[in-house]
Symmetry: C2
Subunit: 161 residues, 2 copies
DNA sequence: TCATGTAGGTTGCGAATCACTACTTATCCT
DNA sequence: AGGATAAGTAGTGATTCGCAACCTACATGA
């Protein structure tokens, strides 16, 4: 299978491109969401999302390839394949929730199920950027810094790529 | 032009689907990232990302449609079009950073520019989910709650988020 | 003023991907 | 064995992507 299209990755040393390489295709995030909601089996994903079977098969395979889901056949019934989130997959939760909160806020809101802290049943905070000591940061309070600058704190250079 | 493919949205009252409707296509996030980095013009996006011109035109138009970018012609030179982030677009920053941090962490890491707090030049925290009072929440501490449940609770204690 | 350059697109076309439906394979149940 | 079920594959159009060439409005400057 020769890909003609180039990896997004090569244009940037940026993790965003790598993330999109793994999760950027249509349906990937919806599948992930379903997985977070406890769905485990092919037919469950298929009927929940209404996605075409071949596409679903492709996406699941890709997510497994990228280590986001793990594929196991059940011992009790070897027809049944379990797709389970790995640690890497679970670590996508903040990104997914951030995206979802944005959608709720700006696109006709009113999302039915809401994430709550199971301790007190209160909704979680909006995802935000925070300084090392926990202050919430605004866009104006941020800048890009290159790795070299972090290492050599003595000098200051002025650029953001 | 009739779209045969259905909106992701219809399958879920979920903001995630709406968000993907606006940002889920290839290149959209990379364009957004470039916009956050100060790029404003068609040719700048094109040469920075190496994206095909027609695709870029389509994406920019779509992002404008969705109110994520704003398109303005400069008075000083009316050939020049400025694409600027709107408030809605800027509000995608947490989601983008979360995605990027995930990519940095799990996919061959080492992302060159890093976001820092401009006040003390220290890198920002990893994006995480937090309870209403600021505790960082683990996946095990979360559950989904439906709107009706929240309303029922609200009957005794008068509040809605 | 008219040639020339520039910014921001559009068009045409082949390749790749998506989506819908039907078919297949392996396994379980009785 | 016969039928049902889970998880895919295969075939077929429609849609989108990616590349290069082309187009148009505006700006510049000799």
């Amino acid at each position: 299978m020769g890909k003609l299209r180039e990896d997004l990755r090569q244009y940037e040393g940026c993790g965003l491109a790598s993330a999109l390489e793994a999760m950027g295709e249509r349906w990937s995030f919806m599948i992930l969401r379903a997985a977070f909601n406890g769905l485990k089996h092919f037919e469950e994903f298929q009927s929940e999302l209404g996605i075409a079977r071949n596409i679903l098969a492709g996406r699941l395979a890709r997510l497994v390839e990228h280590g986001i889901l793990e594929r196991t056949a059940l011992d009790s019934d070897r027809r049944k394949i379990v797709y389970a989130l790995t640690a890497k997959g679970m670590d996508l939760l903040p990104a997914m929730v951030a995206l979802r909160q944005w959608g709720d806020k700006w696109c006709q809101g009113a999302s039915t199920p809401v994430l709550v802290d199971s301790r007190d049943e209160r909704p979680i905070r909006p995802v935000a950027l925070q300084s090392h000591d926990g202050r919430t940061l605004d866009l104006a309070e941020l800048r890009w810094k290159h790795a070299e600058e972090l290492l050599e704190l003595g000098r200051s250079s002025e650029n953001a790529a």
